[in-house]
Symmetry: C2
Subunit: 166 residues, 2 copies
């Protein structure tokens, strides 16, 4: 686990949001609250971070985070479109400008035929959406920590892209 | 931070829930997802933990976790009855047998006239509710970690009480 890298990614993303005067929400499956817990460690974050959803059970992805039930039934929870829907759901349910999401298999066992370490991370914001497939090595802790770092980096990159003149 | 004590508290609470065949949800303010992230580290937790709400912004305590708006307006977010309402809201919104909640002032500044380290933790379950006021020392990390440990210990104690013959 490289906690320094994780904290740096969180601080960078939050700093960009502070500059833009925009807010953030989270929806987490495999990371189970770790994205949120990492974000709230950043000083001054209360102006930016509104809150989040921990949707560990599959049915809560629909009930709490507005992922279409048909999509979940067809693809299962570990899917790029589910990740995007989670990020959009976080944003909508928490009234934030930007939403982050994680869904994947932390292990130690495969889940719904998906291998350990397969993770989808997504960002949703005004006029911007991004999703990435990760294939991560290591134990549950390593897969979770790397997922947190990578989704925060994806937010930073997306914010950087959003700041460029059209 | 005594992470060993925190993990032990989580494992003990989850073990009791597994034995009872009951489920758990969380609603967190000052701990910002750290209770959830601690719970999902326990092996076999997916049979027990459904998910949770991170209600960092005050209005989300009403919108996501069903805390009455009048109560929030009258008392502010750092209040024992708000903690109990958050625990009940977590349980209701996530469809779980038991709900845990944390609300308080992590610092470094006082909030709404409440001192740093003042925290309320609550548990809500079938026929049982418990709330406790904590006055904690230390920095933000220390206040958060101790809050996580204490709310998990409160759940264990409440489950032990609930197991006694009437």
């Amino acid at each position: 686990m490289d906690l320094t890298e994780t904290r740096h990614a969180a601080a960078d993303a939050i700093h960009r949001l502070v500059e833009r005067g925009e807010t953030l929400a989270t929806a987490e499956s495999l990371t189970g609250g770790l994205v949120a817990a990492t974000i709230v460690e950043i000083p001054g974050v209360s102006a930016v971070y509104r809150g989040g959803l921990v949707v560990y059970a599959t049915d809560l992805k629909a009930k709490l985070a507005e992922v279409p039930e048909a999509l979940l039934a067809e693809r299962g929870p570990v899917d790029p479109d589910v990740a995007v829907a989670l990020a959009a759901g976080a944003r909508a349910r928490c009234g934030a400008d930007w939403g982050l999401a994680t869904t994947g298999v932390a292990g130690p066992e495969p889940q719904d035929g998906k291998p350990v370490g397969l993770v989808y991370i997504a960002v949703s914001g005004p006029g911007h959406a991004a999703v990435r497939e990760l294939k991560l090595d290591g134990n549950r802790d390593a897969v979770r920590t790397e997922s947190v770092t990578r989704v925060l980096q994806l937010l930073s990159e997306t914010l950087q892209e959003a700041s460029k003149p059209a």
